[in-house]
Subunit: 220 residues, 4 copies
């Protein structure tokens, strides 16, 4: 089988979507680029999270065509493929309909940066992408156009849900977890008044520090 | 015992109601039609979810009368029976008081279709059925009249909770899980403003695609 | 040790408070009257839910004085004792600070009966008791005066939390679970508008039916 | 290794942050002063909660400099160190971005004391500290200046999250758990109206009683 290690990583990371309550039933998906190949590993379509195994994962080329796998690829495969074709620095993509982030998406409203954790992780607001129908390149285009030149590894597709990108699938999953976390906290803050904005130079300082200092280099 | 396989399926699916936090204490129930018979398997009344076993499930005829079982059938059995009598294409029925869906039901308000996942799964809004008292055919009638000719496999019975139908008990459970998921997300979206409507032709396109393309045919 | 069976029941029922997220840290407690004795078994004070064993439970007389146990009894023991002294039909008492019910309590507002499940279980609104300080009979008096002649087995002590009573500790725990469940659903319903009231004669009909028909008699 | 017992305590208490949903991904941290030494044990930076072991914990001096450990210390180490230098009675410090408390923090709003459990545990409102950037002594100073002379063991750092202190790491973790619990309940109470204030002399009475009577002395 093609790249067992990537299959295992992608399989295991789906469990994080469940653990953090980002997905219901079979919704949501994680993919990762196969190192050194024009391929990526992604979740099969409509299969329950309990039944996911490394072997059940499917491999697609960068056009989103199935290369190896017993199942049809995720119905969001075209969007993942578009991102890998147009953003060579991206090696992982995640999609969820997590509750609070999707609520901002339903209103077509960006999440304002009013938490230091958002400044750290997203470097500012989490932006909104266009309404786009599934089945062609529209979702992928919406992701790439919105995130290109933006600090945030997450965006809210209008009326739809969250897409996140990263240097690895793990980084993209982290962005999906943190996106829902800040979407919820800012929602709750806004329910009873107006959160205090963080000044832009403070956001810049926090983002720069977090990206360059935080964490264990050996664990990146 | 009558149809062990259906007993096992119905028993196992009750665990999904617990896993997705759709039920408290002994509330909620799942039933499935026994293939080729005028019978269905349903949860016993007032028994805790921890104590459910395939053997504890009860079998009723389509009048809701107990045919086999050590326990009294669920107090909602008459409603399930009414649905099976009047909707021959339905093989599974689920009932919950899940929080967000029941909150829409308490206001007698349909959940508007402002998420692509709702368009996929429900094909539009999730409708409201009448206020109806337990104990006769009123709930069953309310379900059948509201869902007949409607795309949605779920409805909100006013001041009461959710009923869902499906080609199998698993499909009805999925509809109950997704109903609460979208009820919550649309609630959260509405708390801070007005969600953007999705145009009807987009809803139609999404619904058609999801019903015909999504998932693994072998897993339906 | 006095009445091992009651110790085991009371110990086991505390796990339900944890399972339904009704308690944080060491808050909350369950007690049950020892059959045929002027005694009751209650949780020790300030002991973590993980460390509770049947042996760690303490036995008090109906004045709330410790009769048997290695630990000091719950700081709410006086309230439990007062209830047992004044309501001979009550054999179980539960106290929690569950989130949604305590929020209604903080506003001193009864939970209106706008769900059929509330009519079933509580027979109407869930009432509010007075503000009362811990340490004497004030909380116990507030419970007894508010619940005497009321259908509801639950009340909200103002600025404090929930007390529930029952014919057994299990029944009181069920009331505590259902109280939080309906407190949350009615809260959510009210956030986006006004729930539809249920007519009094319908509430009466539902309450009467549920108290007399529902469940397995052998499991009461 | 330096003080295995403190390493084990600090490691184990991190699991409570997960259990009570106070943290997402690698956010949050617990530390405890090493008895009789000018040292404290703290979580390593950017390591997942699943991978935490007593051995992975790091030991720092009161300047926040690494003394022993294979990992870099938490990025919040300077704040913990500042507290230990300036509050000799404090032996445990906890930091989280728990949702409801952080929402109050995003608005820069203290949590008013409208629950008897808040009077017990916090002795009044939970105060707000200044906006402060990570990387120097500003957060530590904000904590010490806000909590000095205040009954509350918790504060909300503006736009950031929660810091709590205690006579032990366990006491600080308890304060973090209870802080989120009351932040959530008061938030929910405020969503539908105005909670009833508790008179100051009642708050004083409750606080005094809880600090001096509650719990098992042998378990403090």
């Amino acid at each position: 089988m093609i790249h067992q290690e990537t299959r295992e990583t992608v399989c295991r990371l789906h469990a994080e979507l469940v653990r953090y309550n980002l997905v219901a039933w079979t919704a949501g998906n994680v993919s990762e680029r196969v190192p050194g190949e024009d391929l990526f590993v992604i979740k099969p379509s409509g299969v329950s999270y309990d039944e996911l195994t490394p072997e059940a994962m499917v491999v697609c080329d960068l056009q989103g065509e199935l290369v190896e796998g017993d199942y049809a690829p995720s119905s969001d495969t075209a969007a993942h493929a578009y991102v890998y074709r147009h953003m060579p620095e991206v090696n992982g993509v995640v999609h969820t309909h997590s509750t609070y982030a999707s609520a901002w998406a339903a209103r077509g409203e960006a999440i304002p940066c009013v938490l230091t954790a958002m400044a750290d992780e997203f470097g500012g607001e989490i932006p909104v992408g266009p309404f786009a129908l599934i089945g062609g390149d529209d979702i992928g285009k919406g992701i790439v156009e919105t995130l290109t030149g933006h600090r945030s590894p997450a965006l809210l597709m209008q009326n739809h849900g969250v897409f996140t990108i990263g240097g690895s699938a793990k980084a993209a999953v982290k962005a999906a977890v943190m996106c829902e976390d800040v979407a919820r906290t800012v929602h709750v803050a806004r329910q009873l008044g107006t959160p205090i904005p963080i000044e832009q130079h403070h956001i810049d300082h926090l983002y720069d520090r977090y990206q360059n200092v935080y964490g264990q280099r050996s664990h990146l």
